[in-house]
Symmetry: C2
Subunit: 217 residues, 2 copies
DNA sequence: ACAGAGATTAGAATGTGTTCTAGTTTGCCA
DNA sequence: TGGCAAACTAGAACACATTCTAATCTCTGT
């Protein structure tokens, strides 16, 4: 069977977290009991484990439910769609990157090279689990939700390149430039996962783009 | 039903058209009889028509087959997966853009603004059929194949900004820069389709990026 | 301790991409 | 003209995301 039956669709949006429905949605930003938290965590872990072996395809909802020890219905109560689950997995990855950056902030001299540092660090992190990375990035690009890889990475880039600048403080132009660099990175990563770029090529390209885009940020 | 059942998977690769299987694959680069050509065209048209109303979701393989007046099996003989069909539809769109550019080449003075011209022209073209655009771009980003929106657009940008330069003649750096600009554009387009950017924002962002990236190409 | 609300479960059902089967039609060539 | 290979067709079959159902469990307030 050469085929991929896997489906990637948009996650159930509700862009602004409005619309708190009748019942208590365990995934929502409402209070979560310890056991709910545990359950949610188990699910995400099971999902990540499956995805890192075999990508999204291996991460079948039935299988995830099974591995996490919950019923399919429960899985769907926590994550209304497969995309939502993928997004959650990505969140974890990004948390990892951010804490890595806190522990060991990029120390290069220019804004541009600090940005390169962050992006290449993220790249290496993702390369460790290529299947997972592939699944996550593809899925996220598709997602209707706030795309962590776009927005959070833009924020990170601003922070390291303009020394602590936050998204709210940045000028339009700074946002544009950091955002553009993030776009380039995402696309390059995708190309790498497709086998159409080597790590070195990515690095060169990121460096070139960063040097131009963040020259004077 | 708020859900999207639609599947977007990778198109059946065979990246270099190698592996000419036993039978004559109508999709391949082999000779095509007139009737096969007609049939293929009818299929792509039917697919595009469906996608422009309702996106990929509306473009169901059964429906496409029906509208094109072929059996489901035949559809799958021409396009081994839904992705392949989507890619074919995109090809048509890009042909359109390229011929538009031939008819009326961008006349701005600087390489950077000629590039902006091309990108914004493409943007407007895609905006005319947002559903179709959404379907196409999302799908293409996922595709394992040579991504038309990346590579062909990069080629186009080089051509207009460095006056007739082709991909083969370009230096690595030129390729990097034009490629990065194409990446930015693709991502911006996606954001627009998600409703997170206006046309004006895109234009500003493209202009900013282009000015930096293509300043001296 | 008990009632009621919400959470959970097992499993059936549905929808759509993809594959498979068996038979029919078409085009070509000896 | 007869026959064969490839193309085509209708439709069944299969896989997996998602939804639905009915029953059971768990907690919380009284």
């Amino acid at each position: 069977m050469r085929t991929s039956h896997a489906s990637i669709a948009a996650p159930s949006s509700d862009p602004e977290g409005t619309m708190e429905t009748h019942s208590t949605p365990p995934g929502g930003h409402s209070v979560r009991t310890r056991s709910q938290h545990q359950r949610r965590k188990r699910i995400v872990q099971a999902a990540a484990a499956l995805a890192s072996r075999g990508g999204v395809e291996a991460m079948q909802m039935r299988t995830v439910a099974e591995r996490a020890g919950v019923a399919l219905g429960t899985l769907y109560r926590y994550f209304p769609s497969k995309m939502d689950l993928v997004v959650a997995v990505v969140g974890e990855e990004l948390d990892l990157l951010e804490s890595s950056i806190e522990r060991r902030p990029p120390s290069a001299a220019t804004p541009s090279s600090r940005a390169v540092d962050v992006l290449m660090r993220a790249t290496r992190g993702l390369m460790r689990e290529p299947e997972l990375a592939d699944a996550l990035i593809r899925s996220l690009i598709m997602a209707e939700v706030q795309t962590p890889f776009g927005d959070r990475m833009t924020g990170l880039l601003l922070r390291v390149s303009a020394d602590g600048l936050t998204i709210d403080q940045a000028t339009e132009e700074q946002l544009d430039l950091a955002g553009s660099l993030a776009s380039v990175w995402v696309q390059e990563l995708l190309e790498m996962l497709r086998g159409r770029r080597t790590y070195d090529q990515i690095q060169r390209r990121i460096e070139t783009a960063s040097a131009r885009l963040l020259a004077d940020v």
